[in-house]
Structure formats: structure tokens, C-alpha cells
């Protein structure tokens, strides 16, 4: 671990006590980081722009809520098991959807996933078992209100750490190289004997796991699950996860983390300072980023200061 790892870790542990008024937003920052990190597995590292990753978030959210409602367990075991189950159901969905959709390439895949996320919201809105259009309410937190935010903050922080460390390890393995190869030239990868479809589906399954678990948690911190506005909200979380990854620098490990943090803070500031115009300000910010930082913040830093910000694998004397 390097010195900046310790600093970030320390800040993350201290943040809810330094800024007690913003605990809910801070907890939600971890959700945003996971959204960006898990989108980047396909969108950045593999070159497959998915507009449908939101469905794994929604599936996890509903699965967890249904489990909490029907399992008859007390709050904490129901929540934790529900989140785990959300991850598993999301992974199973990714197996089926991946085999169906990942045969398509480029724009065809993107459009296919876009249709999928819209369809998921409509389907959830028509299914009585999960509350149909009127949605679901998640159980009340048993402790004090202040404890609730601390609890979710550290729960989400832990899952973010798991996500980040897992991806860091994956990107340094042959798996990481293989999905990079698929991004750069899929035909070549196949001609070199790589079973590309298998890698693509596995990448989506991994993405679905992280999203499914955090989806279950996010449903509980929001408290109310609306099929189109929360769970399968393609126009908010679905687009944000892409924007955050691109803002920070897609195809990098830290890029989505940086992008999500910057995005989340500016978005909250716009809400507070520019009420009524917050969406306009957000849109302008996105335009500016795409115009001036097309490679994202980290991508720009790497071009500007290659020695300090180069990818680990490109640095000499390191066999990645």
C-alpha cells in the first residue's frame, strides 16, 4: 500500500464523524462509486457500452426487499442475507442476458441493453408480487436515526472496498488483459484462441454481482422502491454510472472512483445552491467535461503528467 492509500482510508473512516450533517450523502457516495466501477468493467475495460447495467441494480434492490418482507428474519440478518441474495439473482440474470446479448457488438449491444433497461422498469411496474406501480417500502431501521446512517455508511464502504480490491486484482490477471484485448480487437483475440464470449459473459456477471448487492442496500437507505424512478431508473442512476466513469477516466481503476466523487459532490452542491437549475448546471458540466477532458480527469492527468499517473502496467520494471 502506498501513502495515498492510507490517507484515503483514513479520510473514509473519519468522514461521517467530521461531517455528521452529510452522513446520508456520504453513504450514497459509496453507492455511486460502485455504480461507476462496475459499469467500467464492460464500458471501459472491455469496450462494451452497456446502458442496461441499471437492471442488475434494480434486480438486487427488489430481491433484497422481497427477502426482507417474506423471510421472517430480524432486521440485520434479513438485510445482509437479502443483499447477498440480490447479488446472486443479479448474477443469474447476467448469465441469461449475457448469453443472449453479448453476441452482439458495438452499437447493437448498446441499443439492446437500452431496450432491456426500459423493459425492466415496465415489467416491474406491472408485477403485483413486488408492489407493481406503487412500489415497495423497505423495513424500518430498528435503531436511532443517527445510527442508521453510520451503519449504512460503513456497510457500503466495506462493499466498496471489496469491489475495488477485487477489480484491482482482476485487472492485473490474465482476465483483465483478455477483456482489454476484446476492447482493442475482438477478432484478433478470437484468432489467438481466446473464447471471447465466455470472457464477456463472465465480465458482466462480475459487474452484476457488485451492482446486485449494493442495489439491495441502496433500496434500504432510500426507503422506498419505485420501479421506474428508483430501481430501474435509466435516466438517473443508469446514465450517471456512465457519466461518472467517463468523467473520471474510463478504462482505469481509479477513474470511476474520482469521477463518482466529483460528480456526487457537484450534484449535491447544485441541488443546494442552484435549486431549479440543478439539471441545467449538471448538463453544462457534462458538456464541459466531454469537450475539455474527453479522456476523463485521470486520462487527462496521465497525458499531462505521464510519470506520476501512468498505469501500473506501463511503468517499467513492473511485470504488472
Amino acid at each position: 500500500m502506498k501513502i495515498y492509500h492510507y490517507i484515503i482510508l483514513l479520510l473514509a473512516l473519519a468522514a461521517p464523524f467530521l461531517l455528521p450533517d452529510y452522513r446520508t450523502q456520504l453513504a450514497f457516495l459509496w453507492v455511486m462509486i460502485i455504480l461507476a466501477l462496475s459499469w467500467d468493467i464492460l464500458g471501459g475495460q472491455m469496450g462494451y457500452n452497456s446502458f442496461g447495467n441499471i437492471i442488475f441494480f434494480g434486480i438486487g434492490m427488489y430481491t433484497c426487499a422481497v427477502f426482507q418482507r417474506d423471510a421472517g428474519l430480524s432486521y440485520y440478518p434479513a438485510l445482509l442475507l437479502g443483499m447477498g441474495l440480490g447479488g446472486i439473482v443479479a448474477m443469474l440474470s447476467a448469465v441469461i442476458l449475457g448469453n443472449a446479448l453479448l453476441g452482439m457488438r458495438g452499437h447493437y449491444f448498446s441499443i439492446g441493453t437500452l431496450g432491456l433497461s426500459i423493459a425492466a422498469g415496465e415489467l416491474a411496474g406491472g408485477w403485483d408480487f413486488i408492489g407493481a406501480g406503487s412500489g415497495m417500502t423497505t423495513p424500518m431501521f430498528p435503531g436511532a436515526l443517527g445510527d442508521r446512517d453510520i451503519f449504512f455508511y460503513f456497510l457500503f464502504f466495506a462493499w466498496t472496498l471489496v469491489t475495488f480490491i477485487t477489480l484491482r486484482w482482476l485487472y492485473r490477471s490474465r482476465f483483465g488483459l483478455a477483456i482489454n484485448a476484446i476492447r482493442d480487437n475482438e477478432d484478433k483475440a478470437e484468432a489467438m484462441g481466446i473464447y471471447t464470449t465466455r470472457y464477456k459473459v463472465v465480465a458482466w456477471i462480475i459487474s452484476a454481482l457488485f451492482l446486485g448487492v449494493i442495489g439491495g442496500g441502496a433500496g434500504n437507505i432510500i426507503g422506498f422502491i419505485d420501479p421506474k424512478e428508483v430501481a430501474f431508473s435509466g435516466s438517473t442512476f443508469g446514465v450517471w454510472m456512465i457519466l461518472m466513469a467517463i468523467t473520471g477516466g474510463k478504462g482505469t481503476l481509479w477513474g470511476p472512483v474520482i469521477g463518482a466523487t466529483v460528480f456526487h459532490i457537484t450534484q449535491e452542491l447544485f441541488w443546494t445552491l442552484l435549486l431549479g437549475w440543478q439539471r441545467v448546471a449538471l448538463g453544462l458540466l457534462i458538456v464541459l467535461i466531454v469537450l475539455f477532458f474527453p479522456e476523463g480527469i485521470l486520462g487527462w492527468l496521465r497525458q499531462r503528467y505521464p510519470q506520476r499517473f501512468a498505469a501500473n502496467s506501463i511503468k517499467p520494471d513492473q511485470a504488472s
Partner: protein, 248 residues
């Protein structure tokens, strides 16, 4: 008599009304260097694509090491040890040369564990040696997409070699390469063949290269096999001269 490594029997392939290959048969013996020549559009690359499973053939059969591979998929054929390079060079542009080589190294065992564990450091020596062999050692940390076209060709060649194929199909390996580098490439092809034991089937328009290294040449024209024989035979074959080489 050496053993037959690749046997193409009466392969035909049409695209709509265009017969790209008609009833083509050829044999590549283990350890040999075989050339495939012919005018542009005569069906050389189509034949390569058929052999590596890029598209299904209409009729005929392709056998590799006495195994029927006509209906196998591209990655399956590659894993049997039959690799190809592309006429329009294909490398992984946003990855460094070393990463290009790392992903081309064959796995010892195809288990989930070997896919997800950290990349073995012991491979690095072999990778650096191979990059040095093609003259790219000083470029090893650069992104492959930043190399010149000729260097990308050399990288693609090195990627194919490190994958350890039994048979390597090379589609115009010297096209776009600086003439002074071509001699070096000829030497490297010979080393690959003699020391690494890789059988080569080469499409090439540079006749000096072909005369220099091949044991046997097949000539295609208009999708059919026009002639075959030793380089000398082909050079003096009147139909080949008329169709392709021109009088000289």
C-alpha cells in the same frame, strides 16, 4: 517422407455469385515453408480464412494433424496450434507491447484459477527475448497503437511466435515493411521455422522473399489452383508467368 500437417481437399467457397475459391487442394508438410502466390483477388486470403474457420466452406474438407477441422470455430482451431496473422495488421492498440505478448502466451492449463491469478513473472524473460528477437525490445513499454505500421507487423509476428503454434499462416508479412528490414524478416522466418520448429504457410507478393525461403509454392488465379511446384518450377512455369509474374 515428412508427415502431412495440413491437408486442404477440394475446398470451394463462394460469396454470392463470386467464386472466391474453386476446388482447391493443397498440402503442407511438417517443418516446411510453403508459399501461396497469386494476383490480387485470386482468393488467397479467402483460403486462409477458410482454413482458420473464419467462415464455413461450401464444399471440401480441411484436416490439421489428421483431425477434421472444417467445422470448428476460430478459437478452437487456434488452440490446436494453427494460427494466422492478418494482412491488415491486428494488434491490441491501447495495450503495451508487453501486454500484447502476455495475453498471447498460451495457458498451461485452462482453469479458472490460471485465468484469475496474477500474471506469472517467469514469462517475462521469454517475452523480452521474443521482443528482442523481432527488434522491438526498446519499444516494449510503448502502447502497441503508437508503433509504426512495420513495427506493428513485427509485434504481431512476435505475438504469433510466442503463442507457440505448430503451423503459422502469414498473410503478406513483408507488405509495408522497409526494404532494408525485409532481409532481417527473412532471417527471422527461417529461425522460426528451423529453431522454433514452426511450419509456415505464407502469402506474399515479394517474389525475392518467396524464392529465398519456400520449399514449395502454390499459385492461385481467379479462385483456382493454377500451378504448384518448387520455387524454380513456378518461376519458369509459363502459365504462372502469364497470369502473375509477367515476362522478365
Amino acid at each position: 517422407m515428412s508427415t502431412v500437417l495440413l491437408h486442404v481437399a477440394s475446398v470451394s467457397k463462394s460469396f454470392g455469385g463470386v467464386e472466391a475459391n474453386r476446388d482447391i487442394s493443397l498440402t503442407v508438410n511438417e517443418g516446411s515453408i510453403v508459399g501461396l502466390i497469386g494476383p490480387n483477388g485470386s482468393g488467397k486470403t479467402t483460403l486462409f480464412n477458410s482454413i482458420v474457420g473464419y467462415h464455413p466452406v461450401d464444399t471440401g474438407s480441411i484436416r490439421f494433424q489428421n483431425k477434421e477441422i472444417t467445422r470448428l470455430l476460430v478459437p478452437d482451431i487456434a488452440r490446436l496450434g494453427l494460427l494466422r496473422t492478418f494482412q491488415q495488421t491486428r494488434i491490441y492498440g491501447k495495450m503495451s507491447c508487453i501486454q500484447n505478448m502476455q495475453i498471447s502466451m498460451p495457458l498451461e492449463e485452462h482453469t479458472l484459477r490460471s485465468v484469475f491469478k496474477a500474471l506469472p513473472k517467469k514469462d517475462m524473460q521469454e517475452i523480452e527475448d521474443m521482443l528482442a528477437f523481432v527488434g522491438l525490445h526498446s519499444k516494449r513499454h510503448l502502447l502497441a497503437g503508437d508503433l509504426s505500421f512495420g513495427q506493428q507487423k513485427l509485434l504481431e509476428f512476435a505475438m504469433a511466435l510466442i503463442a507457440g503454434p505448430k503451423l503459422l499462416l502469414l498473410d503478406e508479412p513483408t507488405a509495408g515493411i522497409n526494404p532494408t528490414l525485409i532481409n532481417g524478416l527473412i532471417d527471422r522466418l527461417k529461425v522460426a521455422n528451423q529453431e522454433l520448429g514452426i511450419t509456415l504457410l505464407i502469402i506474399e507478393h515479394n517474389m525475392r522473399v518467396m524464392m529465398n525461403i519456400t520449399d514449395h509454392i502454390y499459385c492461385l488465379a481467379h479462385g483456382t489452383l493454377l500451378a504448384e511446384g518448387s520455387p524454380e518450377d513456378i518461376q519458369n512455369n509459363q502459365t504462372v508467368i502469364d497470369a502473375y509474374l509477367g515476362a522478365h
